[in-house]
Symmetry: C2
Subunit: 367 residues, 2 copies
């Protein structure tokens, strides 16, 4: 079940929408055209304001409600909204939308016009996600494969027709079957040499990083993941990217410890345990524009402990954020610059299919 909202926009010559009479004329043209599509159209309400233009509500049987707004600055918006029951045909086909756009564009002598594909609202599966810089992206998700709430987060596995199964944590896309490039860029495949190395993964519950690292013949990998349920879900629904590494929790090559990574890092530090590589594969870095709050505190704590776990020539590898999030990346780098002893870093980037954007990755070493 879902409602559909279809948004049309037409840029108008501001000289033709400046007065109430002119706006009435635009409204008349719109109404005439809408009557071709909605034969039972009725005007329910209209409002005119010297400062803010014209607004009206039209409807067909109170079922399809259409709002029409004419901004005096020279813009017309038409919003069509109705309830589309499962299995029913949409009220407007793409052909109807395109035709209506073209005719109105011509009749209104509009310079630029646009309609968006119907926005589906209230569906059981949320198909709209946002990029790191708050852009709308509609996914081709057709199935909610799994949903559960762990003590730590809401866990969903959704199936995308083209990206495969996707892990969504608290409404944020984490990794999908399409995203080998994510793991390969995070680990710097072909650049870093993991053979015989000791590695610690912080987080990494989807298992993809562990799976790919084990192919490079390291001495040992320890993974510290807090959420047992994430691992169970990924083991079951994402095994094309994690193989069977989440199946067993301990082998000669690796150990998965379920617990708070900070606790275990403290334990390792107390034991004097050191690693060649530490991976920060935890929650995303915050988008917020000030380096305050729990999230940045957490990131600082992770940094500080990670560097205490690294051998002098060790590396800390982690994901950053979308490359368009300059402010957030800047704050992240500011945190790195605060560390003592001093560190230096390089970055790499890759377009991650399921994120639908380019992502930045960090390689940090002692300065």
């Amino acid at each position: 079940m879902a409602a559909q909202t279809i948004l049309f926009d037409f840029t108008l010559d501001a000289g033709k929408t400046a007065t109430a009479i002119q706006r009435q004329e635009v409204a008349r043209i719109v109404r005439n055209e809408l009557e071709h599509v909605f034969s039972q159209l009725e005007l329910a309400y209209s409002m005119e304001s010297m400062d803010n233009g014209y607004f009206s509500v039209l409807h067909e049987n109170k079922e399809t409600i259409i709002t029409c707004r004419i901004f005096q600055q020279g813009l017309l918006t038409i919003n069509v909204e109705y309830y589309l029951a499962d299995g029913k045909e949409p009220i407007m086909s793409f052909d109807t939308m395109r035709t209506m756009e073209l005719i109105l564009r011509q009749k209104l002598d509009s310079d630029r016009s646009k309609y968006l594909p119907p926005i589906k609202r209230g569906g059981y599966i949320d198909i709209y996600m946002t990029s790191s810089d708050e852009r709308i992206i509609e996914y081709d998700i057709d199935t909610l494969v799994y949903e559960a709430r762990s003590p730590f987060q809401k866990i969903q596995i959704m199936h995308s027709k083209t990206l495969g199964n996707m892990l969504i944590l608290d409404e944020l896309q984490n990794i999908a079957e399409s995203d080998l490039i994510y793991t390969e860029t995070l680990m710097g495949r072909g650049i870093e040499n993991y053979e015989g190395k000791e590695i610690c993964i912080l987080g990494g519950g989807d298992g993809a990083l562990l799976y790919e690292l084990l192919k490079e013949n390291p001495k040992h990998v320890v993974m510290l993941e807090i959420d047992e349920l994430v691992m169970q879900a990924c083991n079951k629904y994402l095994n094309t990217i994690c193989g069977d590494v989440l199946e067993k929790r301990k082998t000669d090559q690796y150990e998965i410890i379920v617990g708070d990574c900070v606790d275990y890092m403290k334990k390792f530090i107390a034991e004097g345990r050191k690693f060649d590589y530490v991976f920060g594969d935890l929650t995303d870095i915050p988008i917020s524009d000030a380096p305050i709050g729990e999230c940045w505190d957490f990131i600082r704590t992770i940094f500080e402990h990670s560097f205490q776990l690294l051998k002098p020539d060790g590396k800390y590898l982690t994901h950053g954020n979308g490359t368009s999030c300059l402010e957030s990346l800047q704050l992240f780098e500011d945190q790195l610059r605060l560390l003592k002893p001093k560190v230096k870093f390089t970055t790499t980037k890759a377009f991650v299919p399921s994120f639908m954007e380019e992502w930045l990755f960090y390689q940090v070493t002692f300065a």
Copy 2:
């Protein structure tokens, strides 16, 4: 200049929205909450229908207009629309939106709720494009670099913060600086051997395919492109993907002929000219669900002539469509199956960054 429309949805227990009295109660809660955000809120209009639930119009100074609809099936939609002048702050920050969503979700005991980032309407640059299966994708376009109308199409070069310059033809994204993978998959880099080969490109006005092919040391490439203006635009604004190949029209290695490719193919056929590879790098194949109309006729014509130009062991390489467009791809393959002499084909696919989707490519040979 642009209007902003913010869409909120709340799934409600249908048992709580079945009667007019219940819907009035939901509307009261919504109005109370909206008054926290819009202190001058006024109710302008409301409409109640036994079959179609409740609808109301609220506004603040007739400037911000809010429609609120309660579907008796158990769904509430709230649409907030206002004009945002250049340089002004949005009326609702992301924090305000998030807070309003969370509070209403709790007060209405909503199971699922959602808000979309504000939809920008009527802006000079169109930042919303659609995938091949009609999904909405908002791009991080910040500049319209170039716009012109040639005798054949509307040509735009837009700059995306993360994808670089993008070529848009008649509102459809064609290629961007981020899309080497497109060209490499089309040509099967690392699979096909172009050394010493004779090649014909149909279309390819962006120059990327020609540029990449020339790196593989072919004997000669002839490119048949109809639109001089596309080449001028790409030569100027897309030279990271086409180098300087569009600068000169003829060298020992290649020749660019500006004209209708079908005319030149006929000419080549009459001359008995044959190629090792023919590339179909023309307009996208149609999305429509029947193999009729000009576009499919055009594609059939291209196929027929192309195979007359191929040596017996030659290959026809072309792009298909988004891998989610099963119907369209099926129709494309149906066209291939109609060809005489018979052909056979293989496919490859790649996620193309600027398309924000996975694309299918065809390799066709004589059966």
